[in-house]
């Protein structure tokens, strides 16, 4: 299988696919909080009646989305990740999480700029809390694709399931990790990228980092699981995948100890009765002001491939 290595921005691939579906279906509505992408220009030109720029107003973005969803539309609401999750958290709670328990509403939040992908924009644009806070809301699906192929593959589910969902997309163009997803990966919510004695469970951009870590280590030492969704996940299948590991690592570009991937994994292992050594790698609870780019930020916080490889090696000894 040939794996394309050309970097593709997830948002452009995702929006291109939404555009295609909008040509086929008249019940798709796209709202943007004044946030764009090269690919969005074509969509908004072609569908002036079903694309609306609501302005820099995330609270209204969510309120409008519920209103449209109650009128039967499948809504995509598009904004910068920290703002579409945190500026309007209470709208997401009341409009989406609470209403989802009573009515079928298909609202798809697309947040661009996961983790530190808006690296030099600083702490306001770093999105290190979204996984944690979105996990606190019942009924909300949380998807964290690691490449454009995975993001696009998620669209069928987005259109087909009338529940609220959050898509956490990276802000940078990333290479695709595989040309396609294996059957069942989406339904399970994860894919195994590499086998190994120890396993690193990573999500989003950090799946790429985990593969880089594994490449620095002796062959067969570190396997990598890419968590495509934090909800829903086939927890039994994931526990089964983690069961053979001598040790489990989690790797997220998000605050540690705040209820994100680390808590998710600890809960999963506990629930499955798996007593494995667990090391959680992520961002300590401090905002970062260093400039120079994502790699420099990651160097500063111990998330470079070399630093992570050293942690794995230390655990292996």
């Amino acid at each position: 299988m040939t794996v394309p290595t050309m970097a593709v921005a997830m948002r452009d691939a995702f929006i291109r696919e939404i555009h295609t579906r909008m040509m086929e279906r008249s019940d798709i509505f796209f709202l943007s909080a004044d946030f764009g992408s090269p690919r969005l220009d074509a969509l908004r030109l072609e569908f002036p009646d079903r694309f609306v720029n609501v302005g820099i107003a995330e609270q209204n973005l969510i309120n409008l989305s519920l209103g449209l969803a109650l009128e039967g539309f499948c809504v995509f609401a598009y904004a910068i990740a920290p703002f579409i999750t945190m500026r309007c958290f209470e709208q997401i709670r009341v409009d989406l999480a609470i209403h989802a328990q009573i009515r079928a509403i298909n609202v798809n939040l697309i947040g661009v700029g996961a983790g530190m992908s808006y690296d030099v924009s600083g702490p306001t644009h770093h999105c290190l809390e979204d996984l944690s806070i979105m996990r606190t809301l019942p009924h909300l699906e949380i998807h964290s694709p690691s490449d454009a192929v995975a993001a696009v593959a998620m669209l069928d589910g987005a259109l087909g399931r009338p529940v609220p969902k959050y898509f956490r997309l990276d802000g940078k163009a990333l290479p695709n990790l595989a040309a396609s997803l294996a059957p069942g990966d989406l339904a399970r919510g994860f894919r195994i990228l590499r086998e190994g004695r120890m396993l690193m469970l990573a999500t989003g951009f950090m799946a790429h980092r985990a593969l880089a870590v594994a490449a620095l280590l002796p062959a067969g030492l570190l396997g990598v699981i890419d968590l495509l969704s934090l909800r829903p996940v086939d927890e039994a299948a994931l526990a089964e995948a983690l069961a053979p590991a001598e040790a489990v690592f989690t790797l997220e570009e998000a605050f540690l100890g705040a209820g994100g991937l680390d808590a998710f994994t600890a809960g999963l292992l506990r629930g499955a009765g798996l007593d494995r050594p667990l090391q959680c790698c992520g961002v300590e609870q401090r905002y970062r002001f260093e400039l120079g780019g994502r790699e420099i930020l990651h160097e500063a916080i111990g998330l470079s491939a070399a630093a992570l490889a050293a942690r794995v090696l230390a655990a292996a000894r």
């Binding site: 509505f29 609501v54 302005g55 209204n60 449209l68 109650l70 009128e71 009341v94 209403h99 009573i102």
Partner: protein, 272 residues
């Protein structure tokens, strides 16, 4: 079937009486805030303004009505029961185990489109509905009831800007302008006046009315519904918080006041 003025006024008396009885049984309900919009609710549901079907609360051709000031809509319960959205016995069980009518309503109640009470959401949701209805070519009108204290929420003004820009003329915001929030009169907190001018500046049609003149309210709502002029509509209904209860009228803290059973009985004896 639309009622005449005398019948509408009689309906308002009945709704106030039932609302007070609900409060007697469930004193945690917000009585003052629920008494100010009685004429607005009666005008909408008995004045021939709204299209609705109690047997099919989600009937696609209905007009939409969002109660954004959810906490202050206990007076809506007796109306919905009277019209047959749910059995009258539910009125006996407000806030009680096994009932569907909460101290603050939720959209599990037939007749409530959305869950509100957390303030400032309704206007934006109503804009989404109005936009969706327009794109689908449906002629339904969207009404949303908000309190004036609710207008402090910034999200309201995001929606107001949006509706004006999108020319949502199938949308009416009814402001129950009862002049008070929780802890004081609005003029003492942050004065909202001139209220109509604020909406006009965003491209809205503005009507003002004595919110306790049920026929005037009905006429204004009816006119707004039929006026498709490219502009959203606001009806500033000047009301009195706690209307009909002398102790509450004029009390800046009326929002948090509870009436004792004896007080309710005395009120009902004097104003049957």
């Amino acid at each position: 079937m639309a009622l005449n003025r005398e019948q509408l006024e009689q309906k308002c008396r009945e709704v106030r009486r039932e609302t007070l009885l609900i409060h007697r049984r469930a004193p945690e309900t917000r009585i003052a805030s629920s008494l100010s919009p009685v004429e607005i609710l009666v005008a909408l549901y008995y004045g021939g303004v709204l299209a609705f079907d109690p047997r099919r609360p989600q009937w696609p051709a209905r007009d939409r009505f969002i109660v954004s000031k959810g906490h202050g809509s206990i007076s809506f319960y007796p109306i919905l029961a009277d019209l047959g959205f749910f059995p009258r016995e539910e009125l006996e069980k407000v806030s009680k185990a096994g009932g569907i009518l909460g101290g603050i309503p939720d959209s599990v109640i037939p007749g409530y489109e959305t869950t509100n009470g957390s303030l400032g959401h309704g206007p934006g949701v109503a804009c989404g509905m109005a936009l969706g209805l327009r794109v689908k070519g449906r002629g339904c009108h969207v009404f949303v009831l908000a309190g004036d204290g609710e207008l402090y929420e910034g999200s309201v003004w995001e929606a107001v800007m949006f509706a004006g820009a999108q020319k949502l003329d199938n949308l009416s915001l009814v402001v129950d302008a009862n002049r008070a929030a929780m802890l004081n009169f609005t003029r003492e907190i942050i004065d909202l006046e001139p209220l109509g001018a604020k909406f006009a500046a965003f491209g809205w049609d503005v009507d003002e009315v004595d919110g306790h003149d049920v026929e005037a309210v009905r006429d204004a709502l009816q006119a707004q519904k039929s006026r498709r002029d490219g502009r959203p509509k606001v009806l500033v209904a000047r009301t009195i918080k706690g209307k009909g209860v002398p102790r509450l009228e004029g009390d800046p803290l009326s929002h948090v006041q509870t009436l004792s059973p004896d007080e309710v009985d005395e009120l009902l004896r004097r104003r049957p």
